[in-house]
Symmetry: C2
Subunit: 349 residues, 2 copies
C-alpha cells in the first residue's frame, strides 16, 4: 500500500521515535498536516494525463494514442547531494528540478511525480516550506504530485517522474552520427560555481551570487528545448556529472567520438567574475549539477533552432571513433581537467 495513506504510518508518533512537532501539530494530527502541506502540489496541472491522483493504492495515468511514457528515479541524500540543514523551500525546488531534467533530456513533457520522503521528524515549518518549493517547481513545469510515501529516518528524497513523448521521438544517448554538431543549452559550469558559494568556500558580490545561486537551488529543467529537439537532435542527455563525463556517455552509447572545443565553451559573466577564466572553464568541463541539455545535431537544423530563439551553443562536433577529446583553438588535443563528478561531500573545483 502506498500513496499518501502511508504518510500516516510514518508520521504518527511511535514509541521508538517520538515526534517533536511544534505546538498545534498534535491537534490536527501530523498525517493531516502533511496532507495539507502537499495538497497544492497534488492539484491538477495543465497538460494533465492524471486519471487518479493521491489517495489510492496507485495513481493512474493515461497517454494519448501514439505516446510513450518516460520514467526516471533520482535520490538526493542530505550531506551527499545537498548540504545538511539546507533551506527547505530551495530543497523542494531543487529536488523536483533535478528530477524533471531527466524528462527534458528525453524530449518528454511532464505528467506527474511521486515523492518518497524520509524525514527524521515531522516539523510543520520545514514541511510547509519544502512543500511550497516543490509546488512552485511543479507549477512551472506542469507536473503534478501523484503519490508518495513518508518514512522516518535520515533526510533523503527519492522522486520518480513520469512524462509523455510521442512514440519513436524520445531523445536517447544512442543516435549521434559523425558530422553532427555538439551543442549545449546554455552557459556551463554555473551549478558547480554556485556550489562554491553554497559551501561557503568563496564569497561573491551580491550581483554574482544572485545570478549563480538559483542555478544550484532552482535548476530549470530545459523541458521546452528538449521537446523542440524531437526529430532534430540525434542524441541528448542532461549535464549532471560534468560536460566531459556526460559527453562520454553519448560517445559510448552512440559508438562515436565527441570533440569539445575549449574556446567555444559558453561561460557566463557571473561565473567568470567568481572564478576567473581558468576556474570557470574547469567548472564548465567537469562540474556537475548544470542540468542543461547537451545534444548532437545535424548542421541542417542549427539555423532554424537558433532563429526560433532557442539558447543553444555549438561547442564541438561528432566524428567517427570513440571517446571524448578536448581541443584548443588550433584543434590540438588538450588534457582534460582531472575532476569529474564527485559527491557533494567530496566536491571541490
Amino acid at each position: 500500500m502506498a500513496c499518501w495513506t502511508s504518510w500516516r504510518r510514518a508520521c504518527a508518533p511511535t514509541k521508538s521515535a517520538p515526534t517533536s512537532a511544534e505546538p498545534g501539530a498534535s491537534a490536527l494530527g501530523e498525517f493531516e498536516l502533511i496532507r495539507h502541506y502537499f495538497a497544492a502540489a497534488s492539484c491538477a496541472r495543465a497538460g494533465e494525463g492524471v486519471v487518479l491522483g493521491i489517495g489510492d493504492d496507485c495513481a493512474l495515468l493515461e497517454l494519448a494514442a501514439g505516446e510513450q511514457l518516460a520514467v526516471s528515479t533520482d535520490t538526493l541524500v542530505e550531506g551527499v547531494h545537498f548540504p545538511a540543514a539546507a533551506e527547505p523551500f530551495s530543497l523542494g525546488q531543487r529536488a523536483l528540478g533535478v528530477s524533471l531534467s531527466d524528462l527534458a533530456a528525453m524530449g518528454a513533457a511532464p505528467i506527474g511525480f511521486t515523492l518518497a520522503l524520509t524525514l527524521p521528524r515531522a516539523e510543520p515549518a520545514w514541511l510547509e516550506a519544502f512543500a511550497r518549493g516543490l509546488d512552485q517547481m511543479a507549477r512551472q513545469c506542469s507536473a503534478r504530485l501523484i503519490g508518495g510515501d513518508t518514512t522516518r529516518g535520515p533526510l533523503s528524497l527519492t522522486l520518480t517522474v513520469c512524462g509523455r513523448v510521442p512514440a519513436g521521438q524520445a531523445l536517447t544517448r544512442a543516435g549521434a552520427q559523425a558530422g553532427d554538431l555538439l551543442c549545449v543549452g546554455g552557459c556551463l559550469g554555473e551549478g558547480a560555481g554556485a556550489l562554491e558559494l553554497v559551501l561557503g568556500r568563496r564569497q561573491a558580490k551580491a550581483q554574482v551570487a544572485e545570478a549563480l545561486l538559483p542555478r544550484y537551488w532552482a535548476p530549470q529543467p530545459q523541458l521546452a528545448l528538449g521537446q523542440a529537439l524531437r526529430g532534430k537532435a540525434t542524441a541528448a542527455l542532461d549535464i549532471s556529472d560534468g560536460l566531459l563525463a556526460d559527453c562520454g556517455h553519448i560517445a559510448t552509447a552512440s559508438g562515436v567520438a565527441l570533440l569539445v572545443e575549449q574556446a567555444r565553451l559558453p561561460l557566463s559573466a557571473a561565473l567568470l567574475d567568481l572564478l576567473g577564466e581558468e576556474g570557470a572553464r574547469r567548472c564548465a568541463l567537469g562540474g556537475g549539477d548544470d542540468y542543461l541539455l547537451a545534444f548532437t545535431l545535424p548542421a541542417e537544423h542549427l539555423h532554424g533552432l537558433q532563429a526560433a530563439g532557442w539558447p543553444l551553443q555549438v561547442i564541438g562536433r561528432v566524428e567517427a571513433g570513440a571517446g571524448v577529446r578536448l581541443l584548443d583553438a588550433q584543434g590540438r588535443a588538450l588534457a582534460p581537467p582531472a575532476r569529474g563528478y564527485q559527491h557533494f561531500g567530496a566536491a571541490g573545483v
Copy 2:
C-alpha cells in the same frame, strides 16, 4: 540524470566515505559490479511494455490502446520496515513483493519498476544476494527493473512500480455499495505472526516457522486475483496497515460502513499453532504486512469466482453508513483490538 549511469556516482570511492569492498571488487570497479548483479532483473520479461530499459536518462514504456498506467512508490527503511542486518536475498524479495502488491490492489499487471537503493557501502556478497532475491520476485511477477539510482547512506529502498490496466477497470477504494460482500484473498494475520518469529519474540516448531516466515520475507502479491476482480469487485486494496484500518480506508473512500464478522476471519493452522485463537485473531484484525487483497463484491459474482478456484473468503458485508464495525457471531458489536499498524520498531502483537 538517472537510470543506472548514476550507480557510478554513488559507488565510486569518495574521499569522505571510503569503500570497503571485498577483494576482487576493485579490479572490476563497483559500478560494473552493481551493473552486473542487477543485470538479471533488468532482462526482458513476459508481458513487456518496456521500449527502453536501463541506461538512458529515462526508461520508456508503452501501453496498448485503451490501457492506463498504474504507478506506486514505497520506501522501506532498515530498522523501521525490516530488521537491521536482514538477510539480503529475502529483503530483495520482500521489497519488490510489497511494492507490486499495490498493482495487485488496482487490478493492474506489472510492467516494470525502478529501484532507488541507499547503501552504507557496496558489499559484493550483499549486493549479489539482494539482486538475486529481487530478480526472483521480478520473474515470478513478470516485472522488469527499468532504472535506478544508488546513493551512499543508511540502508533504505524506494521502489516505484508501473503496471497496466484497461481504462476504467482499475479497482479503487471508492466504489463499495451497500449490500456488497466484504471479502479477503486468503488467511489473515500471517505477516504479523511471522514478524514475531523474525524479531525472535517467539519460538515455533519448524513446520510452523516454515509456513509463516515466507509470508513476511516473500509476500506474494495477488496480481492474478486482482486482475480477475476487474469488472466485479466494487472496491479493493491490499492489507498492509491491518484489516480493520484498511477496511476503514474503503469505508471512507466509498462513503459506506463495513461490517466485519469476527467468526468468519480465516485463520491458518500455523498461525493458530503459534499464537492461539485470541492472538491469531488480533493479528488478523490489526496486524500489518499481510499484503492480501481485501475487496467488496456484489453477491452475484461470488460463486463464479469461487468456482474458478480463487481463494476468496467472505468476512462481512457493506451497509449504508460510515466506519468499520466488528461483530460477533450473533451480530453484536465487539470492541476492536487496540493495535493498528505500527512501525517495525514499535510492532508487537
